[in-house]
């Protein structure tokens, strides 16, 4: 296990001075991922908050190579990078071992980039794809995505007087990735930074594609005080809003089983996007039931796959 000291000793590969909001979960994730992966790493980022905030010309927050192509294609682009890497290594033009990490927000991953991601995973390229899931299209002003939670208020699923927030439950992208039969799929939380770092290291050792989905609190889009990012990350796991688990070669492991489970309300009502659920308990109950079932299913999968 890495210590904080060890992680910090190499300096930030994803440097401060980027233009993300104070308290942005996405930048903490990128910094941790870069620290875990180390210097011999290249990043391919999709259009979205993290790309926009980190590469405003003529500045860049990236001390390792960074490539942005477009919104929906960071996985396909990374598959080209990985193919070039293999070709050039075979020819002796590249000698170092290089980690290839692609990333995108939930919009760039669950929605518009799903096909590109699916293709790259199915083709078996040796690359790690990181989704920082902040549950909406934040960069364009908080529009709903298929990762937006049930009931949440966004600018395209507003909590109106008739329709009260998003009317669909979240897509389970991590399970879609498991269904690709790739060697390593995981969900992580930035509160459990050590687990996150270990997962990145594990994923990079795998001989094939790997995928890590990380909940990425967003003060602006979720409507909370920037100082509460870490607390919300913990609460999301403690309320089973977000499960921290992995699926390694088909074997599930729930890495964090909260000893003290907390009521879902503790997580929800710290955020403006859910405040209308206070007066709409039926929506809240539907969300609670969905999350409960997800977690129970996960425990069952862990049990079955351990047999």
């Amino acid at each position: 296990m890495a210590s904080i000291k060890e992680l910090a000793s190499k300096g930030n590969l994803f440097a401060p001075g980027h233009r993300a909001c104070a308290g942005c979960g996405g930048t903490i994730i990128l910094r941790l991922v870069a620290a875990a992966a180390g210097e011999n790493t290249v990043f391919i980022g999709a259009t979205g908050c993290m790309e926009v905030a980190s590469t405003i010309y003529p500045y860049s927050a990236w001390k390792v190579p960074f490539l942005h192509n477009a919104f929906e294609n960071s996985a396909a682009t990374a598959s080209g990078v990985e193919s070039a890497y293999r070709a050039l290594k075979k020819k002796g033009k590249i000698t170092k071992d290089i980690n290839i990490i692609a990333f995108g927000g939930d919009g760039g991953t669950y929605d518009i980039g799903l096909q590109s991601l699916s293709g790259a995973m199915e083709r078996g390229h040796k690359l790690l794809y990181i989704c920082y899931d902040n549950g909406a299209y934040m960069n364009t002003g908080i529009q709903r995505s298929s990762a937006t939670p049930f009931g949440a208020n966004t600018t395209t699923s507003p909590a109106g007087s008739v329709i009260k927030g998003k009317t669909q439950q979240r897509k389970d992208l991590s399970e879609i990735m498991v269904a690709h039969n790739i060697p390593y799929v995981a969900q992580a939380s930035l509160f459990y930074w050590n687990d996150l770092v270990e997962k990145v290291k594990k994923a990079l050792k795998v001989d094939g594609p790997s995928f890590i989905n990380i909940l990425s609190p967003c003060p602006l889009g979720w409507g909370y005080d920037p100082s509460e990012t870490i607390e919300l990350s913990e609460l999301a796991v403690a309320t089973h809003f977000w499960n921290v688990y992995e699926c390694e070669n088909g074997k599930y492991k729930v890495n964090i089983k909260p000893k003290k489970e907390k009521p879902l309300e503790d997580f929800l009502f710290k955020q403006q996007r859910f405040k209308h659920l206070k007066n709409n308990p039926e929506i809240l109950e539907q969300l609670r039931a969905f999350l409960k079932e997800k977690y129970e299913n996960l425990l069952k999968k862990e049990e079955i796959s351990a047999r």
């Binding site: 210097e39 011999n40 290249v42 391919i44 790309e51 926009v52 590469t55 405003i56 010309y57 003529p58 860049s60 990236w62 001390k63 390792v64 190579p65 960074f66 490539l67 942005h68 192509n69 477009a70 929906e72 294609n73 396909a76 682009t77 990374a78 598959s79 080209g80 990078v81 990985e82 193919s83 070039a84 890497y85 293999r86 070709a87 050039l88 075979k90 020819k91 033009k93 590249i94 170092k96 290089i98 096909q115 590109s116 699916s118 293709g119 790259a120 199915e122 083709r123």
Partner: protein, 390 residues
């Protein structure tokens, strides 16, 4: 040793790809270009090339992977057509803006709707503003030569290129082909070159950043200036190609233009038919000529103006429509080029052959008759649709 073989346009392009030996090919099948990558995957799986072949799940991902691979220092190619090129559209601009030396073997095919698998130029024309070199081929020999040439141009100029053939008319028609020795092509191209290498860990760079009001304009003006300057370089590289390979290609090609009074301007396979008609009419003493546009992008407007300015009448053949009520793409470009000249001919657009509709000798003879008449008595519209059923 060189050899003379019989090959279709698709086979010729696949052979050129084999000799170019790219590091990465990422592609997706579409009629009539499918064969190119089918043949090429055989080369890959039979160990005849060193290429990593990436069979993507779409053309959008194919060109995206090409961008990633080219940015990583690899020599990169793909092939597509029609809907495939349209699906790549967004990323064509990214490749152009990053000045990545990617080569696309593009087979011209009509765009939907209605869906149609046959030749016209609407797909290539729709991507003419993406900062790519666009080269049209009249026959498999040109397709073969120009695929090799395009790789050279792209790597010397750091501009992406598309080499086009006409769907089925060239892509599936077998003709005589002189193939160079593998080593000749290898020596001609040398080692792959890219403008930067994203995988160089010793010099970490950020590629494809966000540039706003304070920088975007300058970056784009630089791109434009470079493409302007590239025209001279293209001419030099083409001359060098001719000398080495024993060809006689020009960026735009004039036939019987010195004293011509009337001429046709066209692209691709139609030039073959038009040349035949010009030769026949010349035998009858008619002062007619032909201008074949080999390089459509960048557009060699000065050369074109010089060749056309003394005509009485100029007929532009367009295998695409802009649906703007102002004719086809080539017509609009040629018309603009002529504006710089004090003296210029009457010019008329003939939109023909959409969705693979045949154009034959009589149609082209008819165009010559029409432009003569139109030049003295232009009481009709400037845009005329021909090869249309009444």
């Amino acid at each position: 040793m060189r050899k003379i073989v019989a090959k279709t346009g698709n086979e010729a392009m696949a052979e050129a790809m084999r000799q170019i030996n790219p590091d990465v090919v990422a592609a997706y099948p579409i009629t009539p270009a499918t064969e190119i990558v089918q043949i090429f995957s055989n080369f890959v799986n039979n160990g005849q090339v060193d290429t990593i072949f990436v069979p993507t799940e779409s053309e959008h991902s194919a060109i995206s992977a090409c961008v990633g691979a080219s940015a990583s220092g690899a020599r990169v190619m793909t092939g597509t057509s029609s809907q495939g090129l349209a699906l790549m559209h967004e990323i064509l601009f990214v490749a152009g803006g990053l000045r990545l030396p990617i080569v696309i073997c593009e087979v011209n095919r009509a765009l939907s709707s209605p869906i149609n698998i046959h030749c016209d130029h609407s797909d290539t024309m729709a991507s003419r503003d993406a900062g790519w070199i666009q080269i049209f081929s009249e026959n498999p020999q040109e397709a073969y030569d120009q695929t090799i040439l395009a790789m050279k141009l792209s790597e010397d100029l750091f501009l992406p290129s598309m080499v086009t053939t006409d769907g089925f008319i060239i892509s599936h028609a077998m003709q005589k082909l002189e193939m160079y020795d593998d080593k000749e092509v290898k020596d001609y191209l040398g080692e792959p070159k890219t403008p930067f290498n994203f995988l160089n860990l010793d010099d970490p760079i950020t590629v494809g950043p966000l540039a706003l009001q304070d920088y975007y304009m300058e970056i784009k003006v630089q791109q434009s200036k470079f493409i302007n300057e590239s025209k001279k370089k293209i001419i030099n590289i083409l001359q060098d190609f001719n000398k080495r390979m024993g060809r006689n290609y020009k960026v735009v090609e004039d036939y019987f233009m010195e004293d011509a009074e009337y001429a046709i301007v066209c692209l691709g396979s139609t030039a073959g038919t038009a040349r035949y008609v010009v030769e026949n009419l010349r035998k009858k003493g008619e002062k007619v000529g032909l201008l074949k546009i080999r390089f459509y992008r960048p557009f060699f407007d000065e050369q074109i103006m010089d060749i056309l300015k003394n005509l009485k009448g100029c007929a532009v053949l367009d295998r695409s429509d802009m649906f703007a009520s102002t004719g086809g793409h080539l017509f609009n470009d040629v018309k603009s080029a002529l504006y710089a000249s004090q003296k210029h001919p009457i010019i008329r657009d003939y939109i023909y052959g959409l969705g693979g509709r045949d154009i034959d000798i009589e149609d082209i003879e008819e165009v010559f008759k029409d432009i003569k008449e139109f030049s003295t008595n232009k009481n009709e519209e400037f845009v005329k649709y021909i090869t249309v059923r009444e």
